[in-house]
Amino acid sequence: MKCAGWKCSFGLVPVLGTILLAVVPLSAQQTPATSASPSTTANSLATPEIPKAVNEKLAQLDKDVKAAQSSADNAWMLVSAALVLMMTGPGLALFYGGLVRRKNTLAIMMQSFALMALITVMWALVGYSLCFGGDGQFIGSFEHAFLRGVGADPNPDYAGTIPQMTFMVYQLMFAIITPALITGATAERMKFSGTVLFLTLWFLVVYAPLAHMVWGKGGLLNASLGGKFPTLDFAGGTVVHISSGVSALVCALYLGKRSGYPKQPMPPHSLVLSFIGACLLWVGWFGFNAGSALAASSLATSAFVATHFAAAAAALGWSAAEWLKNGRASALGAISGAVAGLVAITPAAGFVGPMPALANGLIAGLVCYWMVTKVKAIFGYDDALDAFGVHGAGGTIGALLTGVFAQQVINPIFGAGKAVGGLDGHWGQVGNQLVGVSVAWVFALVGTLVLLKIVDLLTGVRVPEEHEIEGLDITQHGEEAYNLES
C-alpha cells in the first residue's frame, strides 16, 4: 500500500544476492561437464540432467528465501498490528479518560472500546473491501466482502511478502483509532447511542472512501498505484488525522458548547491517566508508522527513527512555548506536544530523514500549541479535548511538510533517482499535498455534517442538560468510574 512499489523492489535485493551466492559454486561444478561435450551449442541450457537439478535447487532456494523474508516481515507486522490496537485501548482511552471530568471517565473510555468491537465487525463484513478492494478512484469494491479471498497469500498490490490476512488485520487497527479520535471533540455531552451510530456511519461514509483514495489501488490520491494527484501519506496524515480532526471540529460546532463552558472550570480529572495514555500512544505509534513500511525493512527503521525524533522535538517545542508564556512547563503541555509531533510525522515518517523529522516535530509542537491555546479561544468552539487542535492542525501541517521534506534517498516512491519532495527540488509535490489535504478536509466537513443531521433525526446527538450535569457515566452507562468508598 503506502509504499508498495519501493518495498517490493527493496525486498528483491537480498533475494537476488542469496541466489547469486548459491549459483557461483554450482556453476563451477557445471563447467567441466559442458566443455566435455563440444557438440553442445550456445543454448546449452537444454542439457537435460544437471541443469534440471540446478533449477530445482534454485527454485527451492528462492522459495526458502521468500519464506524466510515472509516470516520476518509477518512477525513485525503482527506486532505492529497489536501496537496500533494498543493505541486505542488503553492508550487513547486513558489519554482522553484523564482529560475529562470524573463523572465522564467511563463514558469516554467506553466510546473507544465500543469502536474496537464495532469497527472490527464492520471491517470483516465490508470495511476492508471498501478500503482495499478493486481499483476505483473514490472507493473500493465488494471484492473482499466477508473477507472473500483474504488468506495466507500476499496481495502484491499492497504488501507482497506478508499474508493478506496480516495486511487486513493491520489496516483494521487504523480504522478503529480514527473514529475514536473524534470522541475528543464530542466528549462530555454526546449520547452513547448517537455516538455509536454516528461513528459507524462515519467509518463507512468518510473513512473508507478516503482510505481508498489515498492508499487503495487506483485511488485518486494514491502515490504509487496510479493516482491522479499523488499525495504522500505514509501512515495516515490525511486518512487518519485530517479526517478525524476536521470531523471533530464539525462535531464540536454542531453539538455546541458543554453546559457551563467556558465560564465554569473543567480541569482534567487525572493527568496521571493522561500521562500513561500519552506514553502508550508514543510507543504504539512505532507500530503505526514504522509498521506502515509493511515489512521489517530498513524503511521501517527510518520511519521508526523519524517518528521518535518528531515526538521528542514537538514535546520540547510545546513545552518551550508554554514556559515562555506561563513561566512553567506543564506535564499536560509536554505530553500534548509529543502527541502533536507524532500526528505531524505520521504522513512523513517513511519519506523523511532524521533531521527533517526534528524540524517537522518542532513546527508541529509550536503550531498545535497556538491552535489549542489561542485559536480555539478566539473562535470559541468547544473542542473539549482538542481533537481538532492536535489532529486536524497537526495532520494538516504534517501533510504539507511531507511535501517539503520527502527525499528519494529515504524512499524513491516515484521511481529510482526521481525527485520526491521539495528538498529534492520537486516543489510541485507541495501542490499535490495541498490537493490531498483539501480533498480530505472537504470530504470530512461535508460527510460529517450530513451524517450528524441524519443521526440527530434518528437518535439525537446531545444528552439533556440535566444528564450532562449529572455526568455521562451514570446517565449513559449506569455506573461510576470511582467508587472508592465501597
Binding site: P262, R328, S330, L332, G333, T373, K374, K376, A377, D386
Partner: protein
C-alpha cells in the same frame, strides 16, 4: 472544651508530633477545602486558566479537659504558623457533655 483548628496541610505532621509530645492522645482529622482571606491560585490547562479558590486544608478536632486547653492552643499556634495568609484558625467552644460509648463514663473521665 472543644477545639477545632483548620491548618495548612504542610504543617499537619509537625502539629501532630508536637501535640503528642505534650501528651495529647486523641484527635479527629479531616481533609477539608476552604478559604478565608487567602486568595486561591491559578492553574493552566492547555492555555485555559482556572482560579482554584477552595484550597486543601486539614481540620483537627479534639475535646480537651479545661486544664489542657491553653497548652494545646499554644502548641498549635507555635507549630502551625508559617506567617503567611492561609495559616488557618482555631475555634474554641463549650461542650455540654462527653460520654464514652464502651463503658458509659461521663465528663472528663470520658476524654
Amino acid at each position: 472544651m472543644k477545639l477545632e483548628a483548620i491548618i495548612q496541610p504542610s504543617r499537619f505532621e509537625s502539629v501532630k508530633d508536637a501535640l503528642r509530645e505534650i501528651g495529647i492522645e486523641g484527635m479527629t482529622v479531616t481533609e477539608v477545602r476552604g478559604h478565608g482571606r487567602q486568595k486561591g491560585h491559578t492553574e493552566v490547562y492547555r492555555g485555559r486558566e482556572y482560579t482554584v479558590d477552595l484550597l486543601p486544608k486539614i481540620k483537627l478536632e479534639m475535646v480537651l479537659p479545661d486544664a489542657l486547653v491553653n497548652r494545646v492552643v499554644d502548641t498549635i499556634l507555635k507549630t502551625a504558623k508559617t506567617g503567611k495568609i492561609g495559616d488557618g484558625k482555631i475555634f474554641l467552644s463549650r461542650v455540654e457533655e462527653a460520654i464514652r460509648i464502651r463503658n458509659e463514663e461521663r465528663g472528663e473521665n470520658a476524654l
